[in-house]
Assembly symmetry: C2
Homo-oligomer: 328 residues x 2
């Protein structure tokens, strides 16, 4: 593992940096889910994290690593929502100015929350405007530091703290997870979590779970190199819609992942409702894909112990309500 | 405290009985809630309990205390839902037959779940049929043991285990809660919790929270004796609609409670939605009243540490969806 973009030590340092600022989310077990899956399922509800998703971990670790000069220049991020909130909240805590570029069609709750954390939100049209060009103009004006959503070792190390917690919490229960199901967009979360989990459980099989039509990591794993999807896919999983894996994240994921699974929008909606009824947790579409894969039978536990990461809970109320009503 | 219907020792015994069967729910803290309330708020999310509410604790403790002869006769309970599920699930685990009398207008999810636990569900019409008479007929036929929803020392001791957990978990964080807000119907939960919390934090102020129009415990506390409300009230908090406090529960509550607070349906809906957006927890109307009281400013924390019990999460999907949509 010596050539990985991040090492276990980076994650341990990140854990120290975020301590007292991020929440140590619990590791939960539900009799109903164990029975349903005929195994032992440990839920890591990162919906309970500050800002409602794991993104705060990586954002805080990155911003806390900036030099005094960089802090003065402020930060810039582009994100459809969860990274935006993570960066905005971390920036406020550290007294750093933040500008966030968000698509106009991002869930309204995510836009509102990002503003509430004190960030300056700049909206753009996904169809007609060029995000990179706007970002370039903004950074040229202000000198702001770009905080990438996943392809940055500081971000990946921050997300990896979630894996360290899982390992410690599972060990406290006397358990050794054999499978982990982790939502995957650009791959920063699963890269960090894989490094952490493999350090404690070398035999664990970590699977990326992606929305149908956005299986860039799955295709890249199959091909052995980064693949870019053609545009035009559609999915309700707004938080994890990427066209290609990150360069650094894939460097880790191609070596540590056991494979990738996909789920349909219908399976995601079923899982959202199942989590509502049985886990009493509010999960957003992109955050529930691991559970969706499990409930859809994409992987059979057969008595094994699995960890499922519920990576975010910033569900749009209208979409959530519609999901509860239409599958009634 | 020597003349209380239950003692700390009863709760400690109940804790041993339910161990490994009930979930030790975590004690959660949310930065957003602390900021909102200008204090330190510890959330006890009993929505994560087996069967989705605290009722499993008391039901399991009671059923596990039955003699072999009683077990053979089976159990009977009447309940609009959460006690029903608690008894049905505990009965299944202990191999005891269960019959549950439920009102026809109970939330469909609660009726379905009770059946799924294997109980025989008998529906009756609240308006035209006499629950007590039906129960008397059923017990006369089968000899089944009636499991009361709250006015039984075994039930109260079981619910008290939730208070023991809060005390231990708060102490592990180095905190001494000064206030506790607990949903109150017949008063079994708050009676057990009060005994447990007062044993560890003698100065704590425990408040019953009731729906507007169902403030039987509040009126009884004010009068110094059990008061019965006139019929005709209406509230969405189906789980905690009682006309009078229990005899045994009030014996404890009149001595240990600091007071009672009420919340309106509108405040309950606001809190349901607030919990959805900020805590990512699914709470049912009757379970969220403590949070509703806090958010409505019924009690000012002013830097103090408070515990809020979210007692159940078996929310009807249609009502929940409507709440998300109408307050948008």
């Amino acid at each position: 593992m010596t050539s990985h973009p991040i090492q276990l030590a980076d994650i341990e340092q990140a854990a120290q940096r975020i301590q007292g600022h991020a929440v140590e989310t619990p590791l939960l077990e539900f009799h109903s889910l164990n029975e349903q899956c005929q195994g032992r399922v440990l839920i890591k509800p990162e919906v309970l994290q500050r800002t409602g998703s794991f993104k705060f971990r990586g954002a805080y670790n990155t911003l806390a690593s900036l030099s005094p000069e960089e802090r003065v220049r402020g930060v810039l991020a582009f994100s459809s929502g969860n990274h935006a909130q993570g960066v905005a909240c971390a920036a406020r805590l550290l007294g750093i100015g933040a500008t966030i570029l968000m698509p106009k069609d991002a869930p309204p709750l995510k836009i509102r929350r990002t503003r509430e954390y004190g960030a300056q939100v700049v909206l753009f049209d996904r169809e007609t405007e060029d995000r990179e060009a706007i970002a370039a103009t903004l950074t040229a004006e202000s000198g702001a530091v770009l905080v990438k959503p996943y392809d940055d070792p500081r971000v990946m190390a921050g997300q990896g703290t979630l894996g360290l917690e899982i390992a410690r919490q599972a060990q406290a229960l006397g358990l050794r997870p054999e499978v982990a199901l982790v939502p995957c967009g650009g791959g920063g979360l699963i890269a960090g979590v894989s490094v952490a989990l493999h350090s404690q459980f070398p035999q664990i099989a970590v699977y990326a779970v992606e929305p149908d039509g956005f299986d860039d990591t799955g295709r890249s794993l199959a091909a052995g190199s980064r693949q870019t999807l053609a545009p035009g896919g559609h999915s309700i999983c707004d938080a994890i819609l990427t066209a290609a894996p990150g360069e650094l994240t894939f460097e880790i994921n191609r070596r540590l992942l056991s494979g990738a699974l996909t789920v349909t929008d219908a399976e995601v909606r079923f899982a959202l409702r199942w989590a509502f009824e049985n886990l009493k947790l509010v999960v957003e579409p992109g955050g529930v894909v691991g559970l969706a894969a499990l409930l859809a039978g994409r992987i059979a536990l057969e008595g094994r112990c699995a960890v499922v990461v519920l990576s975010g809970g910033n569900a749009d109320p209208a979409l959530f309500a519609e999901t509860l009503l239409t599958t009634d």
